[in-house]
Symmetry: C2
Amino acid sequence: MMRLSKYVGFGKGRAQNHDVAGDSPVTPVSGAPNGAIPDGAMSNGTSSHGPPKTQTAADVPESSVDVLMAAAWMAHCGIKTRIVDKRNAKIFSGQADGLQCRSLEIFDSLGFADRAWKEANHMLEAQPFLLRLYDTSDSITQNPGSDGVIRRSDRIPDTIVGLSRFQQIVLHQGRIERFFLDNIKKHSNDTIRVERGVLPTSLTIDESKVDTNEGYPVTVELRHLTEEESTPKQQVSASKVPDGLFRSNLAQEDDEADLIDKNESRAGKSEIFHAKYVLGCDGARSWTRRQLGFQLEGDSTDHIWGVMDIIPITDFPDIRMRCTIHSADNGSLMVIPREHKLVRLYIQLKEVTPDASGRADRSKITPDLIFGAAKKIMEPYNLEYQYCDWWTAYQIGQRMSTNFSSHNRVFLAGDAVHTHSPKAGQGMNISMQDTFNLGWKVALVARGIAKRDILPTYESERGQVARELIQFDQRFSRLFTGRPAKDVMDAEGMSMEDFKDAFMKSHLFTSGLSVNYAASNLIVKQDSDGSLAKGLPVGMRFKSVKVLNQADGRPWHIQERLKADGRFRLVLFAGDILSPPQQGRVHKFCSELDGPGSFLRRATPSNAPIDSVIEVLTIHSSKRTETELLRDFPEILHPFDEHNGWDYNKVFVDDESYHEGFGDAYVNYGVDKERGCVVAVRPDQYVAWVGELEDFGDLQKYFEGCLELGGSGAKLNDH
Amino acid sequence: MMRLSKYVGFGKGRAQNHDVAGDSPVTPVSGAPNGAIPDGAMSNGTSSHGPPKTQTAADVPESSVDVLMAAAWMAHCGIKTRIVDKRNAKIFSGQADGLQCRSLEIFDSLGFADRAWKEANHMLEAQPFLLRLYDTSDSITQNPGSDGVIRRSDRIPDTIVGLSRFQQIVLHQGRIERFFLDNIKKHSNDTIRVERGVLPTSLTIDESKVDTNEGYPVTVELRHLTEEESTPKQQVSASKVPDGLFRSNLAQEDDEADLIDKNESRAGKSEIFHAKYVLGCDGARSWTRRQLGFQLEGDSTDHIWGVMDIIPITDFPDIRMRCTIHSADNGSLMVIPREHKLVRLYIQLKEVTPDASGRADRSKITPDLIFGAAKKIMEPYNLEYQYCDWWTAYQIGQRMSTNFSSHNRVFLAGDAVHTHSPKAGQGMNISMQDTFNLGWKVALVARGIAKRDILPTYESERGQVARELIQFDQRFSRLFTGRPAKDVMDAEGMSMEDFKDAFMKSHLFTSGLSVNYAASNLIVKQDSDGSLAKGLPVGMRFKSVKVLNQADGRPWHIQERLKADGRFRLVLFAGDILSPPQQGRVHKFCSELDGPGSFLRRATPSNAPIDSVIEVLTIHSSKRTETELLRDFPEILHPFDEHNGWDYNKVFVDDESYHEGFGDAYVNYGVDKERGCVVAVRPDQYVAWVGELEDFGDLQKYFEGCLELGGSGAKLNDH
C-alpha cells in the first residue's frame, strides 16, 4: 500500500459510517446506479470499512475551474462526488479570464455557453494573442525612435474566421465558477457542492484493489479548517485592492505545510473516507503531485510580469482592442479589454529580478511598481486609473509533470501537471480541457459502462497536449520579452514581421481546436486518409455546422445535439435516403444495429431506453420536404416509446433553412451526398471512428474495445 | 369623487401609515427619485392621509404577463410598485404560449429574450397561424372525399424572412412569468413582488387631484384572502389533469362576487392605500372595467373550442409543424407543436352549443369530449395520448372596451379591453404590448421627466391596435370555422386558396411589427415621405440591423443598445465623418446638442450623467479602421467621466464584421451614406422623429413637447 496524501476523490458507492453531523446529506442524482444509496455519511476520525461512499474532491481555487469541469461531468453522469477546497470562498475577481473557442464549445455541451457569451467582453480584432503591434522604434519607417509615437503594425481578426461558431471572449474566472456551480447544482439535484475550508491531509492507495472495478482503493483524510486558516492572506497595500499573490507562483509553499502541521492537534475535526478515484487539481505547487513523487520538469526564466485589472483613463486609441506594445527599452505590455469597462494589463517588470534561488521577492511588488512600469511602456500616451479591481505578479516558467496519474486511480490536472505563462490565455482553458477529457472516462468506468482500459488515454492524450503547450509557450514567451528590432539588420531585436508571423501560426493552437488525439482503444484511425469524411478527422473534435430537424425544420448546430451527458453517439450520414440503392444500404445497416447482438443493444442496460449509452443521430441529404420521418427512416433511427410516441429529435437533414442559411453539412464534412458514412463520436465530442455503412463489423469492434457490452451497466441520465 | 373599485396602483411617493405587520418592506430601487422613502407601510382598515406610498397592483393570472410587463418597466425605471393577484399561485402550465417577433424584441430590451429563445419550441415552417392545410375533401384533385386522406396544401415559413431577428416561438406562460419575475426581482432589488391571494375590493378616484403631478388621487382597498378562497376550483375529471376553465370565458362571474361578499365579514384583513396610478389587467370579465362603467362592445359567436396540451402518439406526419386541419364535416383543428414533446391542439367542438343566454354549459365539457372531436377531425390518421398537461375550452367572441383609461389615472389593458379568439396567438402578445406601451409613460411622468400630456397616447395608440385586432380576428375566425369547399363552385365552403391568401396577408399583423402609431406629442411625422430614412418609418418600431462598435469592432444588433431602461435615444447617423463638409455638419449639430439650452442638457438632472434621460448613439459610415473615436468624434458623442474615462459604447460604424457579416445599416435604413440624418427613438423603441442634422430646432421642439425640460427630473437607473 502506497502512502500519499491530499485532496479528493470520485466514484460510486456508499459510506457506512454516519456519525458526522452538519454535513448536508448526499442524495443520488436521478438515474443513479444500483448500489448508490443516499446518506449523509462521512467517516469521522476512524477508518470506515466496507464499501464506502466515494467522491471527488479537489483544491486550490487557482485551478478551481478544472475540478469543477470534472464535477460537472459527474453531475451530468449521475456519479456521487465530493469536492473540497482549502480556501473559504469562491473567486470574485481577477484570475484567468480568456475563454478560447473550444472551451466555449465545451460550455455549450454542458449547457451554459450562452451565459458566458452574454456577459463577456468579445474580442474581435486581434490574433489569438495580439491585436496590433505597437512599436516605438518605428521599424516600419526605418526611422527608429524618431518621434517615439507608438505605431500600429497590423490589424487581425482575433479568431480565425470559420474556425468555430464561437469566438474568443474574456470574462473573469469568478463568473465562470458561478456558471459551473449553477450547472453542477442543477444536474446533481444539488447533491454535489464545494466544501470550502477543507484540507486533505493524507491519501493512500491500496494497490491490491486498483485493477478491479469493485473496490475503493483510495483513502483520503480530510481536515476542516477554521475560518482564519482558510482565508488567503492579502498583502497589505495602500490601495486595499485584492491581490492574487497568495495564488501566484511567487507565493511560498510553507503556507500549506503550516496548515497541515496544525492538523496534528485537531484530530477531532478530521475524517477519513474511501474513494474509487481521486483527482488533484491543486495548482503548480501541487501537494498531491509531490506526495505521488512526480517531478515538475522544466525551467523558470528571469522574467517577472505584473498583472492589473483596471478601468483605464487613457488617450491610447486602441485600449478596447487586444494589443501588445513592445517598447524600445522599457519592456512589453499586453492589453486585454475586459467586461464592465475593465482592462487587464500584463506588464513586464524589468526592475524586479529573481534572487540566487531563482525566486523573486514578492514583498517588493506593489501596484505602484507595476503601474509605473506600464506608464513607461505606454509613453507618449497617457495612462491613469481610479479603479483597480485586482492585481498580481508571476514569474514565467515552463514545466511539466513526469506523470499524470498513479495507477489510474489518482489523477492530476491543470497547473499540477503543466505550468507556463498566462499571457496566451491557455492556463484555464487547457486545464478545463484536461478534466473534460478525464471526467466522462472515470464516470463511465465507475458506472460499469466503459472498460477500465480507457483510463490510460487520459495521460496519453493530455500529456501530448501538455508537451505541445510547453513548447508553444517557450517559443511564445521569448517573443514578448524580446525588444523590437531597430531595423532589419538588428540581430538582437525581433522584427515585427517575425512577431506577427509567429502569432499567426499560433492561432489554431490557442483556439484549442488543433488537438488531434492519437490512436488508442478510444480512437481508431481507420479512415486515416479522410476519404469518407475529410472534414471530420478521427481524433479531432466534431466540427459544428447547421442541419435541420427533419420533423419541424428547425436549424441546429449539430454540436448542440452532442450534449455532455456521457453518451457516445453514432452519426449516421444516411446520404440520399430517397434513392433505392442507398435506402437498401441504410436499411441493412439499421437492421444490424437493431439486431440482438449489436453493440447498441448490448451496451444498453435491460430496462433503459435504447439511447441511454449510445445515441444514434441521422443526417440525410435528400430534400426535407420530400422526406417523411415515419415513412422513410427505420424505427431504430427514431425509437418509439409507449409514453411519448416516436422520437422527433434524432433525424436531421442537410438542407436550406428559412432564416439561418444553409449549413451545407455534407460538403463541409467532405461526405459523399449519395452514399454517406458512419461516424462514432465520443462523449467529449471527439471523432472516434469513421467507416462505410458496410463496416458494421469494425464499428462493433470499436465499441467492444472500449465498452462493457452485456447490458449490465446502469442507465445514464437522459438530459 | 368617483367611486370605483379593484386591483392596483403604481407611481411614486410614500405611505404614512405603518401599522400593518407581515408585509415585506418596500425599499426604493437604486436611483429612486427624491421623496421616495423606504418603508413597509400599507394602511390597515382606516383611511391613510398625507402623501401615501403608491404602487402597481393588478390581477387575474389569465393576463398576468401584461401586468408583469408594466411592473418590469417600473423596476427598470426605479418606480415603487405593488402588484396584487387574487390567485395564490403563479401559472405552471397551459395558458397562452405563442411569442411573436415583437414580443421577443421587447423581451430582449428587458434582458431575457435569450431565456425564452433557449427553452422554447421554434416553429419554422408555417404561416403566422398555419403551416399546412389539410383537406379531406381533396379539393386539389377536384375529387372530393374520394379517399379521405388528409392532404397537404402548402408549406410556408412561419415567420416572414427578414422581418425581425427573432422568429415566432412557443413556450408556456408559466415560464414567461418566471422570466418576468426574475427580471423584476433583479431590476427592483427584490422590492417589487407579486402579492398573491390579495383582492382589491374598492377603488376611488379623487377628481380634484387627477391633473397635478403631486397628489395621490387613487385610493384602493384590498382584502387578503384565505388559502381556500384564492385557490382556483378545478373541475373534477377522470384524468385529474389541471384545467383552465376557471379562467376561461366560460366561467361564471359570481365567483368573484362571492369573494368580495366574504370581505364584509373580514374587515380586519383589509387595508387601504393611495396611489398615483392604477392599472387593471383583470381579464375579459374585468371588474375594474365594470366599476369604471366602461362597456365591452362586440359579439360572441356560437363556436366553442377546446384546447388540450398533450404528448401525442400519432402517425400524422406533420405533428411537429404548425398546421390546420379542415375536415369536411367534423370541424377544424389546429396543431401547435410545443416544448418538451408537447403539442397543443385547438379543437372545434361541434357538439357543444350555447344556450339561450349565449353561454355554453361548461360542465358538459370534458377532456374525453374534446379529444373525441380531435380524433374525428384527424381521421384517417391515428391520434392517441398517455399524457395530458392541461386543457380548457372557450367561446369565440370579439369585443372591445369603450375606454382604456379613467382620467389617465386608472388604466385597463389586455383582455380587460379587447377579447378575441386565442388561435392567432395574439392575446398574450398584444396584452404585453399594451403595457409595454403604457409602462414607461407612467414611469417617466411619475418621475417628473415626462409631461402628463403624454398619457392619453396610451389609449390613442393601443385603441387603434385593438380595433385592428378585433377586425382581424373577426375575419380570421370565420376562416377556421368554415368547412372547406368541395369544389370551386361550392359557394358555402371556403377554398383553400382563399384560406391561404387570408393567412398570407395576416403574417405581418400577427408578428406585431405592422404597428404604426399615429401622430401625437410623442410621434412627429415630419419625415412623412421617408426621404431621410425610408427604412425607419416614424411611428413604427426601430428595425434592428447589425453595426460594429467603433472601439472594439464587436457586432451588435442595434436594438441590443436600445434597452428598456426608460431612456429616450437619439441615433445620430453621422454619415461619412471623414469627409470635411460632413465633419462640419456633425460638429455643428454636436455643439448645439452640447449647448446649455439644449433639450439634452435641460432634460438631464443636475447631478446626473448626461445620458440619464436621453442617450445619444452614433452610427457613422466611414471605414472603421480609418476612424478613431477620440480623434474624429466630438466628446458629447462619447462623454468623459472622471472615474471611467471616455464612454466606448456609444459610437458605432456601419462596416463589415469578421464573423457576422455586414449589416449594411445605411442601405437597410435608407439613409444617405454621406449626409446621414438624426432619429429620435422612444423608450419603447418606436421611431419618434426623423430629421436632418440642421433640424436641431425641430428636434428641440419635439422634446419640449413631451419632456419636462429644466433639469429637475430625477436620474434614471443606468442599466
